[in-house]
């Protein structure tokens, strides 16, 4: 179905095209004009990734909390309290099911498609890119956050409950501190992906480096494309390094 044709990959023409492509790209366009011109899109890409991730956390964290079974209706917070009355369980269950469904919807539609829709909705530029990343990644962050919360060690929670703490206090003093390192770790990982995504979303007009790549490709100026790819590579490497350092601090000792 995928029409995989290894023969086609290796035949003369394809190889020839490859060579032409890479020859056409080398050397990268390093003229100061072009590089100076690229500063703004590069910064824009970084900004899109940061704001997009921030919105994703703003969407994903509350929905993730709602969609955690051990917070909504199961486990330590409800052990002695389940009245058995079906209506009370339903009241707890509905927001749980609804937020899970919503998160699932958000993350099943690729950010690209979201970007296309937002571009149609709010126009070109970085804004639709931010929204697309926010929504799509919000779905992922919400799902993973609730998985992290459900994997928390229940024993300290029982101890807190025994002191007479209320449900919210148990969440605050017991669930969240235990979940925090994993929250940070996953959010950093999402930010790495966001950098790559924001560059790519530019291809549909959502700003940043991606838009420049699209323009350069359209003009068949592969030297410029090469430069852009190098910059992208450097960005990803930088984010990689930074998030590794942050992880070290957070998980220290």
């Amino acid at each position: 179905m995928a029409q995989v044709d290894l023969g086609a990959l290796l035949d003369e023409r394809a190889l020839g095209n490859f060579v032409k492509f890479f020859a056409g790209a080398f050397p990268p366009d390093l003229s100061p004009d072009f590089l100076g011109f690229l500063v703004k899109p590069t910064i824009e890409t970084i900004q899109i990734s940061i704001l997009g991730t921030a919105i994703a956390v703003a969407i994903g964290f509350p929905l993730g909390l709602l969609g955690t079974a051990t917070l909504a209706f199961r486990g330590i917070l409800h052990g002695r309290e389940i009245a058995g009355a079906p209506s009370r369980r339903l009241v707890r269950f509905l927001p749980y099911a609804a937020s899970r469904a919503l998160l699932s919807l958000f993350r099943s539609i690729p950010e690209f498609v979201w970007a296309l829709m937002f571009v149609k909705g709010v126009g070109l530029g970085p804004f639709p890119g931010v929204l697309a990343i926010g929504v799509a990644y919000g779905g992922m962050i919400g799902k993973i956050y609730s998985e992290i919360l459900e994997a928390v060690d229940p024993q300290p929670l029982e101890a807190l409950q025994a002191t007479g703490a209320s449900r919210w206090q148990i969440v605050l003093y017991g669930f969240l501190p235990q979940a925090y390192p994993n929250f940070v770790s996953y959010t950093l990982y999402r930010w790495e992906c966001a950098i790559r995504a924001s560059a790519v979303l530019g291809l549909v007009g959502a700003g940043g480096l991606g838009q420049e790549i699209e323009i350069s490709m359209r003009m068949f100026d592969f030297h410029q494309v090469f430069t852009l790819v190098i910059i992208l590579f450097a960005l990803v490497a930088g984010v990689d390094w930074l998030s590794a350092r942050i992880r070290q601090r957070v998980f220290a000792r």
């Binding site: 002695r80 309290e81 101890a159 007479g164 000792r253």
Partner: protein
């Protein structure tokens, strides 16, 4: 303080963990509960600290029937009971100060609890409690950096901050060095004597129970086997309590399990053994 009347707890329909237990504990007493693993000591403990609901019988704390409490009333009653578990009492990543102040959560509103994470409220009581257990310098250390014995002390400090009427401890020293174990048990007994808080402790080690407690209850297969001061206990009673244990369990508990007492079916004022 506590009055249990025919308390019963059954799991999964047929596993009777606590079987018609009746018991009275007066305020300010120190009571040790000993018995083999799986006897139901921990279930009894969790009934007493209101984590579980009894399936039968009545449970009195002070003058109230606490078996069926819920919501606010349950929370308020839990405040009166301080709990120390064998392990994992504390939230590992929080600094010690917050774990200690968690004892106040029953008295704080939600907002105060949040604010305290940034600016600890009642700092002096936390410091005083930590001083009382001997580790005031650890106030801001991260909890998972402390040794097991130190963490148990922090748990005790939390109970002190909570200032309950009753302290319940479930095998608090089972995971601690034997030398430290003595000092921790001694500390809790002293706290109970000076402050008037009732103390009920599940213990794995018979030696600790006999050394520090004026009243020892033997628990086996969900029932009380005996309830006496240490002076009235003898090897016979103890061996029967632990009969059928494996050799190593017996060694850990510190008793001589090779002694086979002649079995009698009636034991006087105590509940029948088997």
């Amino acid at each position: 303080m506590y009055r249990l009347e025919n308390i019963r707890k059954v799991f999964n329909g047929d596993l009777v963990a606590v079987d018609h237990v009746s018991l009275k504990i007066t305020p300010g007493e120190q009571v040790a509960i000993i018995g083999p693993s799986g006897a139901g000591k921990t279930t009894l403990f969790r009934l007493l600290n209101l984590t579980l609901r009894p399936d039968g019988g009545v449970l009195w704390l002070g003058n109230s029937d606490v078996g069926e409490l819920r919501g606010r009333a349950l929370r308020a009653t839990r405040r009166r009971i301080g709990t120390i578990y064998q392990q994992h009492n504390l939230v590992p990543r929080l600094p010690v100060v917050h774990n200690v102040l968690a004892g106040r959560l029953g008295a704080w509103s939600g907002w105060r609890a949040v604010w305290s994470l940034f600016r600890p409220q009642d700092l002096h009581s936390a410091y005083a409690a930590l001083s009382q257990v001997g580790i005031p310098e650890k106030l801001y250390a991260r909890t998972d950096e402390l040794s097991g014995g130190q963490q148990q002390r922090v748990a005790i400090a939390r109970v002190l901050v909570q200032n309950p009427e009753v302290i319940l401890a479930d095998e608090p020293v089972a995971s601690v060095d034997p030398n430290l174990a003595h000092s921790i048990v001694k500390l809790l007994v002293e706290i109970s004597q000076t402050s008037g808080m009732t103390l009920v402790m599940n213990l794995h080690s018979v030696e600790l129970a006999l050394t520090y407690f004026p009243r020892v209850i033997g628990f086996r297969e969900g029932r009380i086997q005996f309830d006496r001061p240490p002076a009235e206990l003898n090897d016979d009673l103890l061996s029967r309590l632990y009969a059928g244990m494996s050799r190593s369990e017996a060694q850990e508990a510190g008793i001589d399990a090779d002694y086979e007492a002649p079995f009698t079916s009636s034991c006087g004022p105590l509940l029948p053994g088997k």
